[in-house]
Subunit: 337 residues, 2 copies
């Protein structure tokens, strides 16, 4: 049984263990600082498909199949998949996973989707509803640019606050079996929507930072812990602008996160060398980094107890055209080994 503590945090008593993980990225991500940590990459942004959207679907399939292979499970073993992406109607997930014959829960949480899916997948195991579950998300620079901003052919100039959508996917397979030496999800904390009135669609980091700050604060209060109890807090894709704002917001609450924080959007690209402006973004960003870099550090013993939080900016081109602000939402998981 799961147990709720405080306002938002849930302790998992069954401790869903991570038995497999997989990641796949595009050329730019492979050329980045942690490129060698990903399971697969391709130099062609279409990955051999005839559209970017079909390529994104393929990314989800590759990531999930890689994670399943490492977990040594097949389609019949996995009882539910939690999947999402940034494409309208989540076609990346639904078309990528349609041949699997596994009950599929489609999620939309913008870039917060990976930890949203992992939180739900964990509770399913904890509840007894499933013994093995999986979570997978993706994003693709080219499909995202043309859907959210401009067709690439326009060559639109991007401001320095803009982030670069990661072409990539990550998948995690969870099991109810307690396996010595495998990391497990200890707690989850679902996010509430936070809205500080940001309207600049080229500054998603600033839109997400308030929700990241809120979720960290709630989690620490609920668990009666401090940052010193964790090796690291890793956010999804705040980038440079969002990270600076996160520090500022938490400082206002007396929480100094500077020495214990990394951001997947800043890990995956080299901002000085790769012209990505404020850093990486997209729900494939935190998914790919979690299911490579982060998992490897659990294996090597570097990490023993971390907070991992995908961060999402909630908007559509329509909502922005109609003058809406961009609220944010961030879901957190506490991973231990």
């Amino acid at each position: 049984m799961a147990k709720r503590i405080g306002k938002r945090t849930i302790i998992l008593e069954n401790k869903p263990h991570i038995i497999g993980y997989g990641s796949v990225v595009g050329k730019k991500e492979y050329e980045g600082p942690i490129g060698h940590e990903f399971d697969a990459h391709d130099d062609d942004s279409r990955f051999g498909e005839d559209s970017y959207e079909k390529a994104e679907s393929l990314l989800q399939k590759i990531a999930l199949e890689t994670a399943m292979r490492k977990a040594n499970v097949n389609e019949n073993d996995i009882k539910m998949i939690f999947a999402g992406d940034l494409l309208n109607q989540c076609i990346g997930s639904y078309f990528g996973l349609r041949s699997k014959g596994i009950p599929l829960i489609g999620l939309y949480g913008a870039c917060s989707t990976m930890t949203l899916g992992l939180s739900l997948a964990s509770i399913m195991i904890d509840s007894g509803a499933a013994d093995i579950t999986a979570a997978v998300t993706s994003s693709h620079f080219c499909s995202a640019e043309r859907q959210y901003r401009f067709p690439l052919e326009y060559g639109a100039v991007r401001p320095q606050t803009a982030q670069w959508t990661v072409t990539g996917s990550g998948a995690t397979v969870l099991s109810s079996e307690r396996l010595e030496g495998k990391p497990y999800i200890d707690k989850v904390c679902f996010g509430e929507i936070e809205d500080l009135g940001i309207t600049d669609t080229n500054n998603m980091g600033a839109a997400m930072a308030p929700s990241a700050a809120s979720t960290i604060k709630h989690f620490l209060e609920d668990t009666n812990t401090t940052l010193h109890d964790y090796d690291l807090v890793i956010t999804g894709d705040l980038g440079k602008v969002g990270t600076d704002l996160l520090y500022e917001l938490l400082e206002g609450d007396g929480i100094d996160i500077r020495c214990r924080h990394s951001d997947c959007g800043l890990i995956i690209f080299d901002r000085d060398r790769q012209d990505v402006h404020a850093g990486g973004s997209g729900c494939g960003c935190s998914a790919a980094v979690l299911n490579s870099f982060v998992m490897h550090r659990f294996e090597s013993g570097d990490f023993k107890n971390i907070l991992f939080m995908s961060t999402g900016a909630l908007m559509s081109p329509t909502s922005s055209l109609q003058g809406e602000t961009i609220p944010g939402i961030s879901h957190l998981i506490n991973i231990k080994i």
Copy 2:
């Protein structure tokens, strides 16, 4: 603890009870055969807002607040909301519920979202992760038409297989408290994607029917029951074309569902009188009918044990332009009193 039986069905041991429900619809739905059963309606399809999208957000807010009022709970009581809609990036849900301060799980399951959300909301209660949860979905004819098909101003002609997207929203509040005389969720069955190769975006009923047939079949097999064990099977929005195909598909498996089946898309409109062609659709369709008509029949004693299944067609305008088929997915809940 939840208990899995068979391939896809989950028995809830804690029996989440439905303590509140709310529905709101537009003018056409109010003028339909069950118009008097809805809690609220408006003659203006903008519901006083300055865009259809903002109107759809307002619908979710109204439905949830109505359900909360009937359940006699406030924002602090509800631990998680499961919400979704048909709009790109689920802005109907996220913008409609952003001021609530309640952890929000964004779902995308096309028109299957209401039972997807209710299934997850039920398991959260069963698992102990929450004592009170809610599920809410919406759709809006005008926002859906311009997003999926043509701006209304074009006056495009609709073929007879097309369905009419319901302008409406429905919300359900679930509680772990066992309350005598209130209906409860006994079992849930998550859907797998079924794809028989339908490509006609004006024939969603046909696209959804195979998944509806598959989920019913799996549920009956998993539970070792027959249709005679239930008062009725209610599908979400198969409409006339999808309903006929469902009968045909199940007959092939020796299951005659004709005398025990209703479809929300056929209940909500009068096809002879209201010019909706094959019937109603949209994820507000099953949500509004469940949270009015169906709940009222549990209250009156007409229903004691039903299967309720929202049905979704998975596509986007982009996927269809790229020549993709339209797979379907259907999630089922077994409601008893």
